[in-house]
């Protein structure tokens, strides 16, 4: 049977086994390859998307659990002011080295700022602890989030 999932504002039919993780439906069925594979066990956060606004590891959520839910991926991050502000800060602060984990970092950071627009440094660290950056750009990721929080997103 096909599952109907709203992805980036569009209802998509996914004719896949229900236990297939969302990540592989996005990447291999829909060609949305911005969401990255890092571990397959919800350990690294590279595959983070939003499900109904909540940061979710797409490698570990089955397609069958998503009927009627709203999924947002990195490809649609720019549609929110927080997303745009983070993208801009990421580029201006030269946050990344290889960049592979950054889609997941950005999705997690935007979910954090959506629920807590003024996080403390400790709250940023706790919220981002699930996202590995093997290049270890942690100082810059932290500072870019803090910068967006401080500026607010009114002008983004």
């Amino acid at each position: 049977m096909a599952y109907r999932v709203e992805i980036n504002g569009e209802t998509r039919e996914l004719d896949v086994p229900g236990e297939m993780p969302l990540l592989w439906a996005l990447r291999n069925e829909l060609g949305l390859v911005g969401t990255k594979f890092g571990c397959g066990m919800a350990l690294c956060g590279a595959c983070t998307v939003h499900v109904d606004g909540v940061a979710t590891r797409s490698c570990s959520v089955p397609v069958s659990a998503l009927e009627g839910k709203k999924v947002t991926t990195i490809e649609a991050l720019a549609e929110s002011p927080i997303g745009r502000a983070l993208q801009q800060a990421w580029v201006e602060e030269d946050v990344m080295q290889c960049g592979y984990c950054q889609a997941g970092q950005l999705m997690n950071a935007s979910a954090l700022l959506a629920r807590n627009p003024q996080p403390s440094s400790q709250e940023i660290q706790q919220a981002m602890a699930g996202n590995i950056c093997r290049c270890a750009c942690y100082t810059r990721i932290h500072d870019a989030i803090a910068m967006v929080a401080e500026k607010g997103t009114a002008n983004a």
Partner: protein, 734 residues
Amino acid sequence: MLETATLSRRSLLKAGALAGGGLMLTASLPMVAKAATSTGAAPATLNAYVSISPDNVITIVGKNPEIGQGIKTMLPMLIADELDADWEQVRITQADFDPQKYGFQFAGGSFATPMNWLPMRQVGAATRQMLLGAAAARWGVPASSLKTERGRIIDPASGRTLTYGEVASDAVSQPVPDLETVALKDPKDFHIIGRPISGIDSPRIVRGEPIFGVDTLLPGMKYAAFERAPVFGAKLVSADLEAAKAVPGVEDVLVMKGGDNPELLIDGVAVISSNWWIAKEARKKLAIEWDNGQWASHSTAGYAARAAELVKGKPETILGESGDVDTAFASAARVIEADYSYPFLAHVAMEPMNCTALAHEDGRIELWAPTQNPTAGAQGIAQQLGIGQDKISIHITRMGGGFGRRLTNDFMVQAAAIAARKPGTPIQLIWSREDDIRSDFYRPAGWHKMRAALDADGKLIGMDNHFVTFIKNGQVTLENSMTADEFPAPFLENVRLGQSTMETRVPTGALRAPRSNALSFVYQSFLDEIAHAQGRDLPALMLELLGDREPLPGTRGPFGEQPGFSPPRAKGVIEKVVAMSDFRGRPHEGRAKGFGFYYSHLGYFAEVVEASLDRGQVVVHNVWAAGDVGSHIINPFGALNQVEGSIIDGLGQAVALAVEIEGGAAKPGNFHEYEIPRMPVTPKITVEFVKTDNPPTGMGEPALPPVIPALTNALFALTGKRIRNLPIDTSQLV
């Protein structure tokens, strides 16, 4: 000033017209013949492509693979500055693999900066000179009366201006300058070099655009998962494929017969599907019988026990001896002896190994490959498939990290071999994280019995190292070797390096700052032991050892003359970090500081770590780093990113990382068993660069090695207990 890259008289600059108007410059820059060829390195040629279109867009081809080290941004900065371009008008395109056209395309060894610093600037300066000449001709004034500014030519006498784009077509017929003699800018006029510039691909990455190897999408593409033997060196005896083939969505299952060389194809089974997850799940249904031979009995515990036996005896080989070591030890008032060891390490680049390959019906193989070393990848595929290299074409993709793993191209060979069985169908091979950690070319483990002889005044009069390493078929393999000039050998009278070996099939290879990432721990820790025995600190001992010595003679590196180790530069960073960190000041309650210095990849780094222990956990509060990588920090953004990343990488290795071998197989499978650092453990990092009148050198590696001994030396200062084995076992500290 000693330049590490020297151009030959055969340097050639060719000007041509760009389709649709504009200037296309091709610089072919063969390095001088003195570049060593004995190392087997590819002929060192540096080529550059610059074009200027009538609408004033400057396009520079980025020829080297980008793994996150920032090279795709940095090399064009060198050209653009001398060209006096506006960075906003510069576009960078990634070159495909084409050694005939681009020369040496490689990411590793922190080579790119020293190799390209001078030649890329010469290309930029020559381009500028041709544009000036074209404007002078149009205006009928001498070129010397004109100046340039941010992509425009200005006639100060009349106030007239032309953009580079407006004269680009005219410049095609200008005389081509001699690259050797073309005038370069006064460094004080640099306006791009030295400016923090954000990575050129970053805007695309934050939008999630397809840019990495694993993002390659081709019409009709299928995905492959590859099952190999868990035990290194095992052979496939038989495989029952039926259950896997029966999984809905599985399109094919192929037995792949390989050979003994893990850099090429090894035995395994490929599962192919239109969705990688289906292929990965179907792997679990394979029933394969492996012949493990003698290798299933191998373990890290076994290697450690054997090494402990070996260091009790005489070394198999003396790799180097100067002076009279035995007499020095016989006359010593005090002998310090310590056994050090470090484990196998995996690379765990964030983007798991993958490669997309298409076997065309006419026998050509086309690849989309995240590789640091496409040359070796093409050679490996040619060898494996028995085809000419002219049949292989490679698109170099951006990589989600490399750290040396993608210097070895087994995954490319695997993808090509699978694709060759499915002509006409593009195949994307993806490894799972478990495949990645368990099929690596690991930083080799090693063991060292260190001995130091001190005379009655406490002076260091002799040093001896019995090093135990690995061999395969009797040969010491890459990155398992040591050389007798390891610091402080050149600064001591009586030094010996002996070696004993153990046979293994665990594949080993280069990990960021290869060899240095392990030897720094051994030597800087042992020197710290000596300094304490002398009643002083390690920086004081280091400064005494370095003394007033002149730089050591240059050596011949793979790409020409390299400067020798410079004691004055080492002293410069040591003194700097001692001051920056208030190393000798009163420590913060419950914390202690440790020091480490290391010279690798032509870079000098001295670092101080401030650490404490909290309920058995190592906590790093501060790291201070002083680095000397020459006269300029070309891109301060990229440079700082590399130093911070290297420091956190090194601390993570020291605190938690090891790949244990058990039953002949690598034990850790995923990030819960190989715990790399996360944001909450990030210390405050303070970096200062000591600028000296030397050509700039690479940043990808040299900041890593010293942080490991700086941490273990801090833990000694804190607890009085010496860490001699990595990773740190905090139970040894109480």
